[in-house]
Amino acid sequence: MTAIASDADVTASLQAKFPAATLRPSVDHPAVNVPMGEVIAVLQWLRDEQGFDYCVDVTAIDWAEDVSPRFTAVWHAYSTTGHRYVRVAADCTDDENPSVPTATGLWAAADWHERETFDLMGIHFEGHPDLRRILMWDGYPHHPLRKDFPLAGIETELPDIEVAEETQAKVIAAPMAGGPFVASSKGEVNMTDAEPRAKDESWNEQTPKPE
């Protein structure tokens, strides 16, 4: 492990080592785009040669349904000796079934990050030892942070069949506009009327208080 002088040195030496890596626009930490095939080698080099010994975050970006490449996987690593961060991003080649090599061999901490990314974005991490959903329940059919998943949700069955039969309850779509805490920017809903406490009162700004 060698001591690092500056942020520019990290990206410069990374690009010298991996010519396919390109600089990634960043307002805070040094960041690079790398091809998906090289990403584990890059991360291992960062960990072993540059002292980025702490995996802060593994996540992904869904750009949009009609954009290709649609998914970009992002890693953040931190150096506990150099007190610096680095960001590595790699585009997924497959827009339908995105697949990323696992980083659990480098950092054990990547395990749950990758499970969360799989759960919410539907990105398959090749070689992950235990790639199950971590937040949503097993058997949930959707990946909620994808762009094509509506904010309100999609109606599905409850996790437990017995309870679902007993209660006849379902996972329902809950549009924000129907809720008590949402203002409409178009002005269809008057917030004074929509507020639950206003419904309990016989008077408000529109109808004065009866004497």
Binding site: M136, P144, F149, L158, P159, T167, V171, A174
Partner: protein, 168 residues
Amino acid sequence: MVSPNTDLAYDSKIEGDIIVSRLDSVVNWIRTNSMWPMPMGLACCAIELMSSAGARFDISRFGAEVMRFSPRQSDCMIVAGTVTYKMAPHLRRIYDQMAEPKWVIAMGACASSGGMYRSYATLQGVDRIVPVDVYVSGCPPRPEALLDALIKLQNKVKRTPSFKNLTA
């Protein structure tokens, strides 16, 4: 006693060892004043639930201080917090495991209606899976509000035809 119980009147000089009352009153009197909660603390409402058991608010004044974490030994489930869809079946199973008679207090906006969590992950009101007796507004409610809900529930229990329900 906090609330004077007018259902029972006893004067030992007149009646000796005999107490005359309605059976419903006796059963309801027992149920009302030993309503052990099943604390279903799922979010920040549980903090208020805890403080209502503390010295300042002292839920034991109403005989409900024995927080039973076993559904077999509890009478009243206090759902204090956000119920996710992942948690909902477990909540229903715990409710099913509670012995009759049993009651449910939905404490706070989330348990009552989903609250601000209009989301794919949150159950939009615990009354979709269990029957709720008392709803408490607030986010989270003050401990006084929970005590008020408990008193309301006690009043509801006092009006229940318990003996008829037992033999039915």
